[in-house]
Structure formats: C-alpha cells, structure tokens
C-alpha cells in the first residue's frame, strides 16, 4: 500500500472532515442527554419530576426478567434470521452471478421485498399468517397439512417473525454480495480454471477470500439492524402471546413511549448499545478482513 505523502493530507482531511462534523453535530446532544436520562428516574406519568439516581436503572435492568426474555427473543432472530439470510443470500448471489437474458429484471424482482415499507410487510404477513382465513394455512390444508397457529402460539410466533424478517431482508444480502461478486475480475476465474481447479476450489480459494470484506460488512449491518427489530413485532404479534415474541427494541419502546419511564428506557438503550458494540467488536476482530492480492 502506498505511503501517505505530505501533499495527500489535505485530501484525506477534506474527505473525512464533513462526515465527522455532521455526525458529531447531530449525535452529540442525543447521546449526552440520553445518557444523563439513564442515570435519572423520570416517570413522566406523574408530574414529570426528574431525580438523579445514579446506576439505579441499570441495577433494575439486571433483575428484569422481561428484559432478558426479550434479549433471548432477539438473539433468536439474530441467529436464525441473519444466518438463514446469509446462506440464502449467498446462494442466490452466486446463482445470479452469471450473465443471462433478463438478469436485470430478475435482480430487480428479488429486490422487491426490501422496497416495501416494513409497516406494509407486517400487514401483508399478518394477513398471510391468519390462522382461519389466511392463504398460508389454506394452502397447507390443501396439501393435507394441519393449520399452523402462526401467531397465536407462544412457541411458534417468534419464528413467524423470523420468517417474515428473512423474506424481507434476504434481498439485502443478495444485492450486497452480488455487487461484491461483480467486482472480482474475470481473469482470476480463468487463471484458476486453467490451473485445473474445480468449482468448489474456485469458490473457496478465489471468490470467498476476495469477497470477505463485503461478507463481513453485510452480516455486521444485518446483525445491527436485526437487533433493532420492531415493526414486524408490533404488526404481527405485539410481542405476544403475552411476552413470547417481544424483542428488545419492542420492550424498549414500550418502556419509553407507552409507560414513559424515560430514564429506564434510556438505560435499556445504553445496555443494548453496549451489547451491539461488543458483538461488532468480536465480529470484526475475529474476521479481520484485509484487501487481498
């Protein structure tokens, strides 16, 4: 890699400065304010008095069974949801990484689930998942399979949400990985083939190593976003039955905007932040991808 020449500094500086300025300007107040709130007791329901209580909210979080339940549910989405999205997305991207007539159309069609507003995705799947009147159970019945209690069973409803999430976000993986595959020069494939490598060897030896930076980013972004899963939970199950499918973001929203315990909600947000930062850190460190070749 080229070293940094003196006269490059202006360019580097100018390139990075705007980003820093904007991000700082907008994020600094929310970060500071919400951190301060997390150290306060502020239940706006009654007269709105804010009292400083130090780590009280955090202590309360650690004995909050409902919070850990929501963490568990969210973890399920991360594991099964993002995992499946990646596997499916990679397979599809590989399938689409060849020239054929109508490929543009097909790629656009695959993008569709992502283009619809999450609110609407929730509405559609709510209709599809309806036990009595939904098309999914109807088709299952035609195949001789008993109706599934998609949304009314505590053990199934979390997975119904995961399924809808997979449907909605696999396109992200497909497009990102496809764009990454596109950047791999053709000659490398040729060279490998000339050397007698078979399909799998080409993939593991040439394609995957080059694709790694993009894979890491794609999974990282999805993990970060899946952690915030909210719209689907609200529209499909409202976290129900009971608390069976409550996600962290959903519980956080309830606490902050329905119960209006702003202090507690802020503390919950900071704990979430810590968890995501930890996950991202671990992820980035163990899969340290560098530009190869």
């Amino acid at each position: 890699m080229g070293g940094l020449r003196k006269r490059d500094w202006w360019m580097v500086f100018l390139f990075v400065l705007p980003v820093v300025v904007i991000l700082l300007a907008i994020s600094i107040f929310p970060m500071v304010y919400s951190f301060y709130l997390s150290l306060c007791k502020w239940d706006i329901g009654m007269g709105g008095q804010r009292t400083f209580i130090g780590a009280g909210n955090y202590l309360r979080l650690f004995s909050d069974a409902r919070f850990f339940n929501s963490l568990k549910n969210t973890g399920r989405v991360l594991l099964f949801g993002v995992g499946t999205q990646f596997a499916l997305g990679l397979s599809l991207a590989l399938l689409l990484n060849r020239s054929f007539r109508g490929r543009s159309l097909v790629v656009t069609l695959f993008l569709l689930p992502m283009m619809i507003s999450p609110v609407v995705v929730g509405c559609i799947w709510k209709i599809i998942y309806h036990y009595q009147y939904g098309p999914l159970n109807y088709l299952l019945n035609l195949l001789g399979i008993r109706s599934v209690n998609w949304l009314g069973s505590g053990s199934i409803s979390p997975y119904s949400i995961v399924l809808a999430d997979i449907w909605e976000w696999t396109p992200f993986m497909v497009i990102t990985l496809l764009a990454g595959l596109q950047a791999i020069p053709d000659d490398l494939y040729e060279a490998a083939r000339v050397d007698g490598a078979n399909r799998w060897q080409i993939f593991s030896g040439v394609v995957f190593p080059l694709l790694r930076p993009v894979v890491i980013i794609a999974i990282l972004i999805r993990v970060m976003d899946a952690f915030k899963i909210f719209d689907l939970v609200v529209l499909l199950t409202m976290g129900g039955p009971g608390q069976a499918s409550e996600s962290v973001a959903f519980y956080n929203y309830l606490t902050g905007f329905k119960y209006f315990s702003m202090g507690y909600a802020s503390a919950m947000s900071y704990v979430q932040l810590a968890v995501i930062v930890a996950i991202a850190n671990v992820f980035l460190r163990s899969f340290k991808g560098r530009a190869v070749v």
């Binding site: 980003v19 994020s27 304010y33 569709l112 619809i116 507003s117 950047a183």
Partner: protein, 273 residues
C-alpha cells in the same frame, strides 16, 4: 458439455423457485389492493378479487398518500445524496490511508448502533430548539446519522476489495490521488455505490418512528401516512396495499435505472489492461 447444461438448468430452476417464494407475498399484496371489505379475512381466502377497480388506489392517494410519497421522496433523495457523497469520500480515506485506525472507523459505525428509541426525545428537543420541527431538514439530518455510517462502511468494504495496484499504476502514470480516486477507484466500485445508494434511499423511505415524531402536518412521510390507515376500528387493508405499491414505484424505477451499474458484465475485470 452436457453436464454444463444440467447445472444451468438446475440453476434456473433454483432461481425460479426462490423468485416465486419471494414474490408470492408481494403478489398477495397486489391482490389485496383490489379487494373490498369482507374479502380480506374470509374463508376460503379470496384469491381473485371480485373487481379490479382502482378505487382503493384513488382513495389511498387522496387520503394523504400523494403528499406522503412527495415528502418521502424529497427526504430520501437528499439524505441519500448526502450520505453517498460524504460517505464514499470518507470511506476511500479510511480504506487507503487507515485514518485514525480501527477505532475511528468503529466510532463512525457506532453512531448507527444507538437504539433509535433513546434518540427520539432528545432529537425532538434538539430540533425544536433549532425551530426545525415539522421540516424536511430535520429528517434529512436525522437519517444522515444512520445513512452516513452505513455508506462509509459499505463503501469501505468495496474499496477494500479493490487491489491497490490499479491506483498505484494510475499514480505512476502521473494521475494524482484525486484523479486516482475519481478515474480508477470510483468506477470500479460503481456496483457497490449503487447498491449503497439504493439501500440508503430505501431505509429513509421506509423509516417510521422519527418520521412520526419529528413530522406533524407539513411533513408527513409515506410510512406515517400508511400507518394512519390502520385505524382503531377500521383497517383499510386495500388502501394500505394500494398506497404501498404506488410508494414502491419510485424505488423500483430507481433500481431499474441503476441496474446498468449494479449488475455489470463479467468483462469488468479486463480494465486491468
């Protein structure tokens, strides 16, 4: 030769099946947009609506759908441009010069990690102070908080993928850093740029919570409008479907226009010369 054909067929079948699965719910959405009351939840499920009239589309757009699409379009376009322009510049520096090391890059990403719920009230107060409540700029900059780090990291990934040799060659040819960036690096990551732009646009288009709280009456993005169709005692399913379909048209058009850059031919690698 024959084996090749077998694989190709399998590939196409695979694509077809996955496409069918991916599109089935979407097809259901389209069907729903034509259904009348009493056809949404009934047995057997209505696969073919009784009429294919466009009254739900008209009604949905009339109930604020048109304004919603306009507002969302303005906000999403501007915030995407902002994110792409600033983000790819920063990403290039991060990728090539490792500015600030990993920590700086991570800080940028971490801005996006903050759960939105914690930021809603502070941002509301912040924009109120700036007298920016119920304006486009409030949402444009709020989404920038999410889009810029996203753009930076996505583009960094794509830049990382590029072998440095190409730019070195350009530099040796007397190009200058900026020239290397503009004439060599950028065109090569064009698919990534397009993908990132699309995602930024989609995210901003589909965001709900900030759109709800920071808007009021002058700025009512499409997501808030659609949510408004979910009434307490009356859910306008057909209008929801209709408006969502109309709302996805701009994005579809955008995607089609950008197809050229998103999915390039495999002759790409020959640039090496």
């Amino acid at each position: 030769m024959r084996r090749r054909d077998g694989v190709t067929v399998a590939v196409f079948v695979g694509i077809f099946v996955l496409l069918a699965v991916a599109l089935a719910p979407f097809a259901w959405n389209v069907l729903t947009s034509f259904k009348d009351k009493g056809e949404y939840f009934t047995y057997p499920p209505v696969f073919v609506p009784s009429s294919f009239g466009l009254e739900h589309y008209v009604r949905g757009l009339h109930l604020g759908g048109a304004k919603g699409i306009k507002d969302s379009f303005i906000i999403a376009s501007l915030t995407t441009l902002l994110a792409i322009a600033l983000g790819s510049l920063a990403a290039y520096s991060l990728s090539r010069f490792r500015i600030g090391g990993d920590n700086f890059a991570f800080w940028i990403l971490s801005v996006r990690m903050m759960p939105p719920i914690a930021s809603v009230l502070p941002l509301f107060l912040f924009f109120r102070f700036l007298r920016w409540l119920d304006t486009y700029q409030a949402l444009i900059f709020t989404y920038a908080l999410v889009n810029i780090p996203f753009a930076v990291w996505m583009m960094k990934g794509f830049f990382d993928e590029l072998p440095v040799e190409l730019e070195e060659a350009a530099l040796i040819d007397g190009c200058g850093r900026l020239g290397a960036f503009v004439r060599v690096a950028l065109p090569l990551v064009a698919p990534g740029l397009v993908a990132t732009a699309l995602f930024c646009f989609m995210f901003s288009w589909n965001e709900f919570l900030f759109a709800l709280i920071l808007g009021r009456s002058r700025v009512v993005p499409i997501t808030v409008n659609i949510a408004g169709l979910i009434g307490g005692h009356e859910i306008l399913w057909a209008e929801i479907s209709a408006v969502s379909i109309v709302a996805s048209v701009p994005i579809i058009v955008l995607a089609i226009l950008l197809q050229r850059y998103l999915v390039r031919g495999l002759t790409l690698g020959a640039v090496k010369g």
